[in-house]
C-alpha cells in the first residue's frame, strides 16, 4: 500500500483478449458503470438496487482510502476499488504467505479467515474486507510458537512444494475452530476446495487428525 495509482484508462478488447473478458476488466467496468454489453446485462439487478439507494457514493476507478485489519495490525492505503483482497495482501501489504494460484476461486490457495469464515481472497474485493478481522497464514503462529496445526503439518509431512500449504492451513484452522474433533469426512469436506498438485491430501488428513488429538492411522482403515 505504499503506492498509489494514476487514473486507469478504459480498455478495449483486442484480439488478444477476444476469448474472454477478464475479471479485472469486468469488475472495473461494473464499478465504473461502464456500458459494455456483457456488463450491462450482468449488472442489471445491481443497477436497480443502486436506484433505490441513489445516495450511495460511487467509488473508483481512482484509488480510494482503505483500512484493513490483518493479523491484529491496522494497515491504511489508497487502492483502486477493483483490487482484490489477495492482491492487496500480496502486492501492497507484502504479506506473500497467501498464495494466488488460480485467481478464480477454484483452488483455495488464497484462503484467509474473514472474522471466522474461510474465504478465497481472490474473489473478495479488498474494499469489502474493511471492518473485518483478516487472518492470514502469517498470523497463525504466536511470536515464534507455531500453531498446533502447523506443528502437525510438519510432523506428518503435510506439505511438499508448500505452495498450497497456506490455504490448506487456513481451511483446516477454520475447521478446528468450529469443530475441535472432526471426522475424516468432515476434514475432507473442509479442504474440498483446496487443490494440492503434489498430492499431499492424505498427509493433510493425518495432520488434522493428529492436531485434534485423534489417531492419524485411523484413516488407513
Amino acid at each position: 500500500m505504499r503506492k498509489t495509482r494514476d487514473k486507469s484508462v478504459e480498455s478495449r478488447p483486442t484480439p488478444s483478449t477476444a476469448s474472454g473478458i477478464s475479471r479485472r476488466s469486468f469488475l472495473k467496468g461494473a464499478g465504473a458503470s461502464a456500458a459494455g454489453l456483457a456488463t450491462a446485462r450482468l449488472s442489471l439487478p445491481a443497477a436497480k438496487a443502486g436506484e433505490q439507494k441513489s445516495a450511495a457514493p460511487i467509488l473508483g476507478p481512482d484509488p480510494v482510502p482503505m483500512t484493513l485489519r490483518v493479523n491484529g495490525q491496522t494497515y491504511t492505503a489508497r487502492l483502486e476499488p477493483r483490487v482484490t483482497l489477495a492482491d492487496a495482501l500480496r502486492d501492497h501489504l507484502d504479506l506473500t504467505g497467501t498464495k494466488l494460484i488460480c485467481d478464480r476461486g477454484a483452488c483455495g490457495g488464497c484462503t484467509v479467515l474473514l472474522d471466522t469464515e474461510p474465504v478465497v481472497s481472490c474473489m473478495v474485493l479488498a474494499i469489502t474486507a474493511q471492518g473485518k478481522e483478516i487472518r492470514t497464514v502469517e498470523g497463525l503462529a504466536q511470536n515464534d510458537t507455531l500453531d498446533s496445526l502447523q506443528e502437525a503439518f510438519i510432523a506428518h509431512d503435510a506439505l511438499q512444494c508448500g505452495y498450497c500449504t497456506p490455504g490448506m492451513l487456513m481451511s483446516c484452522r477454520a475447521l478446528l475452530n468450529r469443530n475441535p474433533k472432526p471426522g475424516l469426512a468432515e476434514i475432507k469436506a473442509a479442504v474440498s476446495g483446496n487443490i494440492c498438485r503434489c498430492g499431499t491430501y492424505p498427509h493433510v488428513f493425518a495432520a488434522v487428525l493428529a492436531a485434534s488429538g485423534q489417531d492419524p492411522q485411523s484413516m488407513r482403515r
Binding site: K3, P15, S25, C161, P166, K188
Partner: protein, 785 residues
C-alpha cells in the same frame, strides 16, 4: 589409490556380497548392513517451518525496490502471420515504463508470445497489454491428432525438430530424444518418426511369435493431454546490476541451464548472469527452460532501467507452460497357454503440439522379459502449446496401454494377472516378485471374485486390479556439492539444484549429518543459485540419487581436514581418531574433543570441501549428455480396488496398494509423500484431466481450474504404501529414484480393476462416466444379458 571394498547388497533375506573398486578419498559406501542414525529415518523436512509460516519466498513472492510488473501479449490464434504490432497507444498509458515486441513473424499455437509491457502495477500492465494492437493474418491449423496426420493437413512447422524454429526445444531426456529424432529428419507432413528410444531396442521377431501364439490381443488406446498445472505458475524477476550483470529470480528447476540460456540470449559471459530461487511451487517436469518469459522480463527491465516481474496467469500456464503429450497407441501382445508372454508391440502416434517428445514406448521395452519386442514412436505436430517432460515422460500413457493389454491377454489365456506378471516381468528386476506377492496379500487378491470379470447382478460392482510400474536409475555423474564446516560448529552445504516438493534440502542435510555425527537440522542447505557448484535439475527423479553421494563425500573430505587439526591439537595420529554421533571426536588414547572445540581449530574460521557424484561403481548401462542410467531398473507394483456404479458410470477408487523400491529409502516420511503424490497425480490424470480443444477456433476451452478438473480431497482413496529397501552397491549412499515410478502403473491398475468389476474394458482416458457407460454398452452388445 583406488581400493577394493566388499559390500552387502540385495533386499530382505536375498543378500549377497560384491566387491567394488572405489577411489581412495571416497567414504566406505553404506550397504545393506550399515547401521545409520539419520539416513533412512523419517526426518521431517528441514524447510517445513518456512512453508507453514508463509515465510518461504517463492519467485512469485519476490518484490524488489522499484520493481515493475510485466504482462505478455499472446496470440489468440493457433496459427497466424504477424503483420503488425502497434504499441503506440499502450506506451502512453498510465504507469507504463517499457514495451517489448518479440522478433517473431509467425505464431504456431494459442498463447504463443508476441509482445510484452511493464508498468508500475499489475493492473496497469494488464490494461496496457490489452491496448497493444496486433494485426494477425490467421492461417490454417490443426489441433486434433487425426487431422494433423492427414496428408493434406497444414504443416505446423518444417525442418529440424531439435532446433524447433521459434518453438522452445524440450530439455533433459526429452531433448536427447529430440536430438536423436533430428538425426532422422524424415518428416512427412506433421509426422516425425522417432526411430530410437532411450529405453531399449527392438528385439526378436514379433511376427513369428504372433504366428505361433495361442492368443493375440490387438487394441488401440488413447490418452489425452495433461497440463502440469503447477500451483506456482512460471515466474521470473529480472534486474540489471552495474557492469551489465543480469540477476534473475526464476522458478526454473535448473538455475545453471537458465543461466546458460540467458547468457547466450543476451550475448553475455556465463559469469555475468546469476539465476536463483528459494522455493519452487511445483514443477513435475516443466520449468525446465527459463525461456522465453525470463528473457522477456530481462528485455523489459533493460528498457525500463528497473527490475521487472513476470508471472504467468493460470490461463497462460495452461496454454504455454508445457504439458504431457497426448498418445494414440496401437498395441499388440501375444502369449501361449502355459503363461508365457511371447510378443509385445506398439505403434505410438503422440503429439507434443508445436514441440517434440511424445514417445511412449519405454515401458514396452523395459517392463517385461519378453524376447520379441517391437516399438515405433511418431511425433505428430499440432498447433497447440509445446509439450515437455512431465513426471515419467511417456510412461503413464504407455504403461496404461501395455498393462491393460496384458490383462486382456491374461483373460484370453485364462491366466491370473498376478501369476502372469510373476512369470514374465521379474527377470530384470527379480525383487518385483516380492513386491507382487506383498501387494497381492495387502489388497486381498485371493478373495478377488469374478476372475473373468463381469459377474454379479446389482448395479454396484466391485473389482481389484494390478499393474506394474517401472523407472530407471537416472543420475548425473559430475554433479557437485560443497560442504563448509564453520568454527562455531555450524555446517553449510551448497549445490545448484532446485527445491520443489521432493525434499532435496532434507536428504542432503541427512547425508551430511550422518557423516559428521550431527543432527539433520544442524545442516544449513543452500540450493538453487547458479553461482553454487553444479547439480542437475530435478528430473528423472534423479536428485536423491545424484546429490546425496557428493554431499556425503564432501562432508567426508571436510571431516578429514577437521580430524587432521584435531589430531595435531591432541598430539595423536589422525588414524586414531573417531568422530562419534553428537560430533564428539574420540582418540584411542581416550582424549576427546567436542564438535565445537574441534571446529574452533579451523584456520581462518572454516574449511570447505567439494564432493562429486562418481559414476555408478559398476559403470552405467547407458550414458547420455544429460544423464546416465545405472544398470539396475526401478520396479514397483500397484493394486487398485474400485467400485463402479453401473447406473451412472461412476467409478470410485476405494484403495490403492503401492509396493515400491527406490534403492535405499532415504527418508520414509518424505518417500511416502512422493509415492502418494505420484499415485494421486496419476488418478487425476486417469480419471479427470483433459485439455479440451475447440476444433473450429483452435483454442483451449478449459484453461482454468474450474473446467480443467484436478483430483481433490474428496476423491482420495485409502493409499497403502509399502517400501522395499534394495541395495545395489553403486554409490556411497545407494539411493535410487522414486518420484516418477510412483505415477506409472496407477491408472492401469484402476482400469484393470474396473474390468474385474464389470467385464468392460476402458481404452481411453480419462475414465469419465460417459466412457464407462459406453464401455458397459459395448460389453452388453458383446454378451447380451
Amino acid at each position: 589409490m583406488p581400493r577394493e571394498v566388499e559390500l552387502t547388497i540385495g533386499y530382505d533375506d536375498q543378500l549377497t556380497t560384491v566387491k567394488r573398486t572405489i577411489p581412495d578419498d571416497e567414504p566406505l559406501p553404506w550397504d545393506a548392513k550399515s547401521d545409520l542414525r539419520v539416513v533412512g529415518k523419517p526426518v521431517p523436512r528441514v524447510d517445513a517451518r518456512e512453508k507453514v509460516t508463509g515465510k518461504a519466498k517463492y519467485t512469485r513472492d519476490v518484490k524488489l525496490p522499484g520493481m515493475l510488473y510485466g504482462v505478455i501479449v499472446r496470440s489468440p490464434y493457433p496459427a497466424a502471420q504477424i503483420r503488425k504490432v502497434d504499441t503506440e497507444r499502450a506506451e502512453k498509458m498510465p504507469g507504463v515504463c517499457a514495451v517489448y515486441v518479440l522478433d517473431r513473424s509467425q505464431v504456431r499455437f494459442q498463447g504463443h508470445e508476441v509482445a510484452a509491457v511493464a508498468a508500475e502495477t499489475l493492473e496497469q500492465a494488464e490494461d496496457a497489454a490489452r491496448a497493444i494492437t496486433v494485426e494477425y493474418a490467421p492461417s490454417p491449423f490443426v489441433v486434433t491428432l487425426a487431422k494433423a496426420m492427414q496428408s493434406d493437413a497444414p504443416v505446423v512447422m518444417p525442418g529440424n525438430p531439435a532446433g524447433g524454429g521459434n518453438v522452445k526445444a524440450p530439455t533433459g531426456i526429452v531433448r536427447v530424444a529430440a536430438a536423436w529424432a533430428a538425426d532422422e529428419p524424415i518428416q512427412q507432413g506433421n509426422v516425425v518418426p522417432l526411430k530410437r528410444s532411450l529405453f531399449g531396442k527392438n528385439r526378436g521377431d514379433v511376427e513369428e511369435a504372433v504366428k505361433t501364439a495361442d492368443a493375440v490381443v490387438e487394441q488401440e488406446f488413447f490418452t489425452p493431454v495433461q497440463t502440469h498445472s503447477c500451483l506456482e505458475t512460471h515466474a521470473s524477476v529480472a534486474s540489471w546490476e552495474p557492469g551489465n550483470r543480469l540477476v534473475v529470480y526464476c522458478g526454473a528447476k535448473s538455475v545453471t541451464e537458465a543461466r546458460e540460456e540467458l547468457a547466450d540470449h543476451f550475448g553475455l559471459p556465463h559469469s555475468q548472469v546469476r539465476v536463483t530461487n528459494e522455493f519452487i511451487g511445483g514443477h513435475f517436469g516443466t520449468k525446465a527452460s527459463s525461456l522465453p518469459y525470463t528473457a522477456i522480463a530481462a528485455h523489459l527491465a533493460k528498457k525500463a532501467g528497473r527490475p521487472v516481474k513476470i508471472a504467468l496467469s493460470r490461463k497462460d500456464e495452461h496454454l504455454a507452460g508445457g504439458n504431457r503429450p497426448l498418445n494414440q497407441m496401437k498395441v499388440r501382445v501375444a502369449g501361449t497357454r502355459d503363461g508365457a508372454l511371447t510378443a509385445v508391440e506398439v505403434v505410438n502416434h503422440g503429439s507434443a503440439g508445436a514441440g517434440f517428445g511424445a514417445g511412449a514406448s519405454g515401458p514396452f521395452f523395459s517392463i517385461y522379459d519378453c524376447a520379441n519386442v517391437r516399438a515405433a514412436d511418431f511425433d505428430v505436430l499440432m498447433n497447440t502449446g509445446p509439450g515437455c517432460a512431465f513426471r515419467a515422460p511417456g510412461h503413464p500413457q504407455g504403461t496404461f496401454a501395455l498393462e491393460v493389454a496384458i490383462d486382456m491377454l491374461c483373460e484370453r489365456l485364462g491366466q491370473d494377472p498376478v501369476e502372469f506378471r510373476l512369470r514374465n516381468s521379474c527377470g530384470r528386476t527379480p525383487w518385483r516378485a516380492e513386491e507382487l506377492r506383498t501387494g497381492a496379500e495387502r489388497i486381498g487378491w485371493k478373495e478377488r471374485r469374478n476372475p473373468q470379470g463381469g459377474a454379479g447382478t446389482g448395479p454396484i460392482r466391485r473389482g481389484i486390479g494390478v499393474a506394474n510400474c517401472v523407472w530407471y536409475s537416472v543420475y548425473n555423474p559430475g554433479a557437485q556439492v560443497e560442504v563448509q564446516i564453520n568454527k562455531d560448529g555450524s555446517v553449510t552445504a551448497f549445490t545448484s539444484t532446485s527445491a520443489p516438493g521432493a525434499g532435496p534440502r532434507t536428504v542432503i542435510a541427512q547425508a551430511v549429518a550422518e557423516e559428521l555425527g550431527l543432527d539433520a537440522y544442524q545442516i544449513e542447505v543452500r540450493l538453487a543459485n547458479s553461482d553454487y557448484p553444479y547439480s542437475p535439475a530435478p528430473g528423472g527423479s534423479r536428485i536423491t540419487s545424484t546429490v546425496t553421494p557428493p554431499a556425503r563425500q564432501a562432508a567426508y573430505r571436510a571431516k578429514q581436514t577437521l580430524l587432521r587439526h584435531a589430531a595435531r591439537k591432541l598430539g595423536v595420529g589422525v588414524e586414531t581418531l573417531v568422530l562419534q554421533a553428537g560430533g564428539q571426536i574420540v582418540a584411542q588414547s581416550g582424549q576427546t574433543l567436542e564438535w565445537t572445540q574441534a571446529c574452533a581449530l579451523l584456520p581462518g574460521g572454516k574449511t570447505a570441501a567439494l564432493g562429486e557424484r562418481l559414476d555408478d561403481y559398476s559403470g552405467p548401462a547407458a550414458a547420455f549428455p544429460a544423464a546416465s542410467m545405472g544398470q539396475d531398473q526401478v520396479a514397483g507394483v500397484q493394486f487398485a480396488k474400485v467400485t463402479v456404479d453401473e447406473r451412472f458410470g461412476r467409478v470410485t477408487v476405494e484403495k490403492i496398494v503401492a509396493v515400491q523400491d527406490c534403492g535405499r529409502v532415504f527418508n520414509p516420511l518424505l518417500a511416502e509423500s512422493q509415492l502418494q503424490g505420484g499415485i494421486i497425480n496419476a488418478l487425476s490424470f486417469g480419471l479427470f484431466e483433459e485439455r479440451v480443444m475447440d476444433e473450429l477456433e483452435g483454442r483451449m476451452l478449459n484453461p482454468d481450474f474450474l473446467f480443467y478438473k484436478l483430483a481433490g480431497p474428496r476423491e482420495m482413496p485409502i493409499i497403502d504404501t509399502v517400501f522395499l529397501n534394495i541395495y545395489h552397491g553403486q554409490s556411497n549412499t545407494d539411493a535410487r529414484n522414486l518420484g516418477e515410478p510412483a505415477k506409472v502403473g496407477t491408472i492401469a491398475a484402476v482400469v484393470n480393476a474396473i474390468y474385474n468389476a464389470t467385464g468392460a474394458w476402458i481404452t481411453e482416458l480419462p475414465v469419465t462416466p460417459a466412457r464407462v457407460l459406453a464401455a458397459l454398452e459395448a460389453r452388453d452388445r458383446r454378451t447380451p444379458a
